[in-house]
Subunit: 456 residues, 2 copies
C-alpha cells in the first residue's frame, strides 16, 4: 500500500529506527509496506551508522512535515524546540505523529493532543517512556479494563545505575555519578536525571494514560537522589530494603469514586522490600508495576534506553498506525466516501487516539499516606528514644522499627548515637510536624535523612 514516513532526526534512536525499516525481513509483514520517504538531519555530510539513499536526506525539516508525500512523521529529535513546532505543523498538515519525546509530551501534550484530535490524526508515544518496554499500549488498550490503583516505575536508567552501583560497591553518590558520566550512562549536566525531572515527565504520561485524565506537570512532586548516602543504603539493606528512585501514581483512596480520579503523582527515592518485584531491577534496566482491580499486579521490565530498544517501540507505534490506515484503505476501496477533515475524529481508532479533556486533581504530599525511614544523630544520653517515641505518638505516627547504634561524632569525636526509625503508614503532614518538633530537642544533633518507604 506504500505508506510514506518522514523521519525527523538521525541520532541514536533515529538511526535505530531507520535500521529496522531498512531490513523488514523476519519482522511483522506489514513493515514491508512502509517507505522511508524523507529523513531530516542537521548535516548532510556527517558519517552515519545506517546506509540511506542520499536523496532522501534533507536539512529542511519543515518541508518534511508539510510534504504531501508523507503520511506519518516520526519525531526523534528530542528537546522542546524545534520538535514542538514541527510536530504541530505536521499535525496541521494531517500527518500522524510518532514521538519518543517525553519532555515534549509531558509539557505540551495538551496542545498537541488538542490539535491532533481536531485534525483527526494519531499521536503515538510508546518510545517516550521506558524505552523498549511495551507499557503505553497495555495501559491504553489492555489494562484499561481494570480500575487502576497504582502505577509504580523505575523509569530512569541513569539513577537506577547509580543507586545499583552505590549498593553493590558501597560508593558515594558523587564518585559514582562521575564514573557514570565517564562511561556515558549520565549526561554532563545530570540534573534532569538525578533530580527526578525525567522520571516526572514519564510518570505524568503513564498516569494520564492509566487513569484517564490529563496531568499538570507542575503538580508532580519531584525529589532526586543527590541526598542518598551509602550509610542509608547500608541501613536499608540491614532492615530488608533496597533504595530505588520510584515514580508513583496512585488513586487517592479517600476519593474512590471521583472521575477522572484524584491522584497522588510523585517521584522520590523509596525504600522497597528486597522481595518486591522492582527490588531486583538493576543497572540501567527499567520496570513498571501496574496494580488494578480485578487484575492484581503485573510487572513489565526491560531496557529503558538505547538505540535498539527505543527504536523497537517507535516502530511498534508505526505498526499500530499502519494497521489502522490499512483498514481505512480497504474500506475506502470498498466505496467509503471521504468525510472530510472535520469529521475525522469520530473515525479514529478509540484505543489509539487520546480523548482525555479533563485534568486529574492531584493530592498534596501532606495528604499522602506513606511510611518513612529517618535517621537521627543524637547525643548519647538516656531517654532520647523515649522522647522521640512520645513526640511521634503525639502526632499519630506509629513506629514499626527502631535501631540505635553508638557512634562517634565525626567532628568532635564525642560519643553520639545514631537512631534509625521506620514508621508504619502515616499522613506525611503528621510525620513532618513530628520531625519539626524533634528537630527542636537539644539532644538531637541532626536529622541526617528522611526517605519514604513503599506504603503497605
Amino acid at each position: 500500500m506504500g505508506i510514506k514516513v518522514g523521519l525527523l532526526g538521525l541520532g541514536t534512536v533515529g538511526a535505530g529506527t531507520a535500521a529496522i525499516l531498512l531490513s523488514p525481513l523476519g519482522r511483522h509483514p506489514l513493515l514491508a509496506e512502509v517507505k522511508l520517504a524523507w529523513v531530516g538531519v542537521r548535516s548532510l555530510t556527517k558519517p552515519r551508522q545506517v546506509n540511506l539513499p542520499p536523496e532522501i536526506l534533507t536539512t529542511d525539516l519543515v518541508q518534511i512535515v508539510r510534504s504531501p508525500e508523507v503520511d506519518i512523521v516520526i519525531e526523534v529529535l528530542g528537546g522542546i524546540e524545534p520538535a514542538r513546532s514541527l510536530v504541530l505543523e505536521a499535525i496541521a498538515h494531517g500527518k500522524h505523529i510518532i514521538t519518543a519525546n517525553k519532555a515534549l509530551i509531558a509539557r505540551h501534550g495538551d496542545e498537541i493532543y488538542t490539535a491532533a484530535n481536531h485534525a483527526g490524526v494519531y499521536v503515538m508515544l510508546e518510545a517516550a517512556v521506558a524505552g523498549g518496554i511495551p507499557i503505553i499500549q497495555p495501559l491504553k488498550q489492555t489494562l484499561g479494563v481494570n480500575r487502576i490503583h497504582t502505577i509504580t516505575g523505575i523509569i530512569n536508567g541513569t539513577t537506577n545505575y547509580i543507586l545499583t552501583r552505590m549498593r553493590e560497591e558501597g560508593g558515594d553518590f558523587g564518585d559514582i555519578l562521575a564514573e557514570a558520566q565517564k562511561l556515558g550512562y549520565a549526561e554532563a549536566d545530570p540534573t534532569a536525571d538525578v533530580d527526578g525531572l525525567d522520571a516526572a515527565d514519564k510518570i505524568s504520561i503513564l498516569a494520564s494514560l492509566g487513569f484517564g485524565g490529563r496531568i499538570k506537570l507542575e503538580d508532580v512532586y519531584c525529589e532526586g537522589i543527590r541526598s542518598i548516602t551509602k550509610t542509608d543504603i547500608a541501613y536499608a539493606e540491614q532492615l530488608g530494603f533496597v533504595i530505588k528512585l520510584l515514580a508513583i501514581a496512585s488513586r487517592d483512596k479517600a476519593h474512590p469514586d471521583q472521575f477522572p480520579p484524584r491522584l497522588s503523582v510523585r517521584v522520590h527515592p523509596t525504600l522497597i522490600p528486597q522481595d518486591h518485584p522492582l527490588a531486583s531491577i538493576n543497572g540501567v534496566y527499567n520496570a513498571v508495576s501496574v496494580v488494578g482491580e480485578p487484575l492484581g499486579q503485573v510487572v513489565f521490565e526491560g531496557p529503558g534506553a538505547g538505540a535498539g530498544a527505543t527504536a523497537s517501540s517507535v516502530v511498534a507505534d508505526l505498526l499500530q498506525v499502519l494497521a489502522v490506515l490499512k483498514i481505512q484503505v480497504a474500506w475506502s476501496q470498498a466505496g467509503v466516501p471521504d468525510t472530510g477533515l472535520g469529521s475525522k475524529i469520530s473515525l479514529l481508532h478509540p484505543l489509539l487516539s487520546c480523548a482525555h479533556q479533563e485534568y486529574c486533581e492531584i493530592s498534596t504530599m501532606e495528604e499522602l499516606e506513606t511510611r518513612f525511614y529517618t535517621r537521627f544523630i543524637t547525643s548519647d544520653q538516656p531517654g532520647v528514644i523515649g522522647k522521640l517515641g512520645t513526640i511521634f505518638g503525639n502526632h499519630q505516627v506509629s513506629i514499626e522499627s527502631i535501631v540505635q547504634k553508638d557512634i562517634h561524632d565525626k567532628d568532635t569525636r564525642e560519643a553520639a548515637a545514631e537512631i534509625v526509625v521506620v514508621t508504619h503508614n502515616v499522613a506525611e503532614g503528621n510525620f513532618r510536624a513530628a520531625i519539626e518538633e524533634i528537630r527542636q530537642l537539644p539532644t538531637v544533633q541532626s536529622i541526617s535523612s528522611m526517605i519514604r518507604v513503599l506504603e503497605q
Copy 2:
C-alpha cells in the same frame, strides 16, 4: 452503540468476566457500550457469585451462538467439547470469538482460525496464556517489529508453586503435590500440569504468534517435574541455580533466514542462574521473557490464573474487538456499503486477525544446543572422574563444573561417590551418546538425574 455479548460458561472466569461487565465505572469508557445479552450455564438454579438478571441465563448454549442478537461470543467453558463445536458454530454465524481455552486453541487452532478467516471474524485469546499478563497482544502487535529470537516462560502456576515450595522447604515432590492438591493449587488429576502438557499448549500458542507460523502440538517436546528431587534442588542452589519448569521457543540459529523460522519448542525443568529475571518468579506467579532484535530482553510477570486476572484478559480482548467494531460502525454510518461475508477478511484489523497458514518446522531435541546438569552415583574408586571426563571429551561435551561428594549407598551402606557435572553448551545428541557410554562403566551405579541448564 450497544454491542451484544453472549457468555458461554459462568464458572470462575465466567463469573469474573460478568462482574467486570456489570460494573463499568472507572474502567475504559468503551465498556459501558457492551450489553451482556445471554449467559449459557449448565444449571439455572445453582447459586452464583454474580447477580445477573435471571432472564439472560439459559442452558441452551447452541441458541446463544446462533442468536442474531449476539455480536461477540466469549467462551470460558474450558475443555475440548462442547467448546469446539460451539466456537465453530458461532463463527459460522458470524460471531467474533474471545476464548480463554488454551487446550482448544493448541489442538484445534488450525480449524478455528481457518473458519474465522473465512467468515471474517476475530478469534482472541489473551486469557489463554499466562492469566492476567498481557503477553498475546504485545507479541501480535508491539514486539512483532523485532526479529524474535527466544520466548521463555514460566507459564504453569501449579508446577511453579510446587517447585517453589520444594526449594523453600526442602520437601519431596510427592508430599508437596499432595499439599497443593489439598489447598486447591493442583487438580485431583495433576497430569496436565506436572507433566508439562498445559505449558506445552501455551508455548505452542506463544510460539505461533511470536514467530509467525503454525505449530503442531505433537512437535513440542514435553517433560514434567515428577523426577525433580530435593537433592537436585539443593545442588542447583549450591551451584548458583534455581530449578524452574520452563517453556521455551527459540529460533534455530543454524537456519537463520528460513521463514516461517525453524524453531526449537519445548517444555522441561531447567536450571536457571539465580540472577536471571525468571529465577525470582515464585509460587503461582507466571512470567514470560521475550528476546528479540533489536529490542533485547523484556520480561512480563503477573498472576497466571484466578478469576480476576483471567477475566481482565478476557475483557481486554473484548475491548480490542469493540474498538474495531466501533470504527466499522462509524465508517458504515459515513456510507460504506456492506461488502458481504466473503470479502470481509481483507477488512479485518491485521494486528487482531491471524493469517498464518504455514507450519513452522521444529528441530529435534538431538539438534538442540543446550547445557546439562547431571548427577551420578559411582563406587568410591580413584579414576572415576577421569573416565567420565574422557568419555565426555570424546563426544565433544565440554564440562563447566564438577562436584564430587562422598556418600553412602542408601541400600548397601557402602561408601560411594556422588558426582555432579554441569556442561557448557553441547549438542543434546552428543551429550546423550556420552551418557549411554558412561552408563556402561562398571563403576557407575546410577545416573540419578539429567536436567537441562539454560543455554548461554
